[in-house]
């Protein structure tokens, strides 16, 4: 399936931006993944250097420990993949007509909100903290007159520039709606 099909793109509509969270904000998950992978290595080292070493020498216990370690590694891999999917499927699509906010909260929870550009009343962009300032990412908060009163773009790259672009597109759409009765 393509994004055009997903958003039911109208004939006159063009996708201007497809925005995801800044890749730097995924870094803590990668770090946690490596820590999780290193934990069994530490536990193995403790086993080898203690009286529990006899457990590894018993064939039956060795089998049980190997199966448990394998299940642990696979769980860590699955956790990483699920986190990546939740991260990567958080998506904002800006077209010349509307903004779509697709939020993947958990593996089985997805929210899609839609706002017409001409309904945007106010836009705020913020960059808070050391890492956001270094890597230039932050939030954009849009106030609208539509059924979705507030739309938040979380941890997007170049929020100040993007806010201005959205305001320009909104102004164009307002002009279009004023001209067509």
């Amino acid at each position: 399936m393509t994004l055009e099909n997903l958003i039911n793109q109208k004939p006159y509509e063009k996708i201007k931006y497809t925005i995801r969270r800044h890749p730097v904000t995924f870094f803590p998950a990668i770090l946690l993944f490596f820590v999780l992978l290193a934990v069994p290595v530490g536990i193995y080292w403790l086993f080898v250097n203690s009286t529990l070493k006899i457990l590894l020498e018993n064939a039956a216990y060795f089998t049980m420990i190997t199966l448990a370690a394998s299940a642990y590694f696979l769980s860590s891999i699955l956790f990483f993949y699920t986190y990546f999917v939740a991260f990567y499927l958080d998506l904002w699509i800006v077209t010349n007509d509307r903004i779509l906010d697709m939020e993947q909260k958990t593996l089985f929870s997805r929210t899609i909100s839609e706002v017409d550009l001409y309904q945007i009343q106010d836009a705020t962009s913020e960059v808070k903290g050391i890492f956001p300032s270094i890597f230039n990412y932050g939030n954009i908060i849009l106030q609208t007159a539509g059924p979705v009163p507030k739309l938040i773009f979380k941890n997007v790259h170049k929020p100040h520039e993007l806010r201005q672009t959205i305001l320009d597109l909104s102004a164009e759409d307002k002009k279009f709606h004023e001209q067509t009765p």
């Binding site: 199966l67 590694f73 699955l78």
Partner: protein, 88 residues
């Protein structure tokens, strides 16, 4: 003393693998059905797939000569008494 046959652990492991597979496919379907089949999602899926195969392969390598019919003691009350003796 409470013992179980070793193949019981293998059955539990296979049940775990089945649940793992279900979640993996669910994640993959999410990526495909939401139109996010990009280079980044392909690379991450490939890494996850390779790591999974590698983990299962190494597990199989370690356990290929295991006698699954032998039993393993998972609880023995003598362990507690020996622990008490150690503390005293």
């Amino acid at each position: 003393m409470f013992s179980i046959p070793l193949y019981a652990a293998l059955i539990i492991y296979f049940i775990f693998l089945f649940i793992f597979l279900l979640f993996f496919i669910t994640n993959l379907l999410h990526i495909i059905l939401t139109g996010t089949t990009t280079f980044a999602s392909f690379i991450v899926t490939l890494i996850v797939f390779v790591l999974t195969i590698l983990t299962i392969f190494i597990t199989w390598k370690f356990l290929q000569n295991t006698d699954w019919t032998q039993s393993v003691t998972i609880w023995d009350s003598s362990w507690l008494s020996s622990l008490n003796n150690t503390i005293q």
